[in-house]
Symmetry: C2
Subunit: 214 residues, 2 copies
């Protein structure tokens, strides 16, 4: 088997890559990296990813890290397989890129801090800092106001079909749904519809099943 | 003239787009947005960019924000003009994407905090927080260690030719060169050579001249 993903099912970045592989209908080998014992900070992993984080990806001789670079590679390399996720129309692709950047630059930095406080810390029996939560909730609300306006005009963030711009959000949106932050998504009708739509995708449900299995 | 950039010469994101246009040898109209008077937070600008930040970009009917989406669009749409900046080889393009992600996710978040403390605050007559500087210096050093290892093996970050992965760093590297953080770049020989190389590019020098002119 040519494609290998080294990662951990709890890692949002790993999930982003697995969701892309599932949308593309590609076979792959999953190599479990034990984050609990710090395996990602030891050899041979640190030689594979200099930032010592999951996922690490192989497709034959090609070796990649950074989840959003891996999803882009898969979307382009396997353009004709499974869900398109991108388009060859350069103007439409530019709009997809805008919203892919919005996810990485505007949404994830706010939402990941909430995820740490409300999902990861409880797992580690650490106390949640409610001041950080309140601050980040306000920041994320501002971002979701922009999403609500966008999704009132467009079924998906990147246009009228599901693309990488939507897919990249799946791990963090899924985690937020299990916290009180779900209310921020629910109270915005177009954001709410979009979340329900993308979370229900069979490819994402495969990733969710894999997370539960571990 | 079809291409318009609404921005400010002091904005690193604006500079990133201008550097790409200069590398591509494309004509454009520059529309000055007065950040000092908060023009970016008023109409019509907030309708053009929902995050109320520069730059905003137009190419005919296509309207974009997020600087890295704009540079990607220009590199793909005008692939045959000027400096290539990308490649059609999907494996080589994947490596360029990895290092483009590293810039956005690893380098910029650390360096931009240093830029705020050491460049922007002095401009605004605000006191620099040396504790933040020391902390961010350590964080940026870790990133530059990875760059040093990469550039020891590859002339440019994305491979053997200058690409978007290098270009995206120009604004922040240029700002750092005017601060004490320059030492972090200087003490790493391959990083030092890379910085001198990319900063000397005629396209970047055009952007620098434009910054001085304002």
């Amino acid at each position: 088997m040519a494609i290998k993903v080294h990662g951990h099912p709890i890692s949002g970045s790993t999930q982003r890559v697995l969701a892309t592989l599932a949308e593309k209908g590609l076979d792959y080998e999953f190599v479990f990296v034990d984050l609990a014992t710090g395996q990602h900070k030891t050899e041979p992993f640190v030689s594979l990813n200099p930032f010592a984080q999951v996922p690490f990806f192989e497709d034959g001789d090609l070796k990649l890290f950074e989840s959003r670079a891996i999803t882009q590679y898969l979307a382009h390399k396997y353009a004709d397989k499974g869900t398109p996720l991108i388009t060859h129309d350069s103007n439409k692709m530019a709009i997809i890129s805008v919203w892919t950047q919005v996810e990485a630059q505007r949404c994830e930095p706010q939402a990941s801090k909430l995820c740490y406080e409300l999902v990861i810390k409880p797992m580690l029996s650490l106390p949640t800092d409610e001041a950080i939560v309140a601050h980040q909730e306000e920041k994320l609300s501002e971002v979701l106001d922009v999403y609500e306006a966008r999704l009132a005009q467009s079924k998906y963030l990147g246009g009228d079909f599901f693309t990488l711009a939507d897919l990249h959000h799946l791990p963090i949106v899924n985690y937020m749904m299990g916290t009180k932050i779900k209310a921020l998504f629910d109270e915005r009708p177009h954001v709410n519809t979009w979340c329900a739509d993308i979370l229900a995708r069979p490819a994402w449900q495969k990733v969710v099943a894999m997370m539960k299995h571990r």
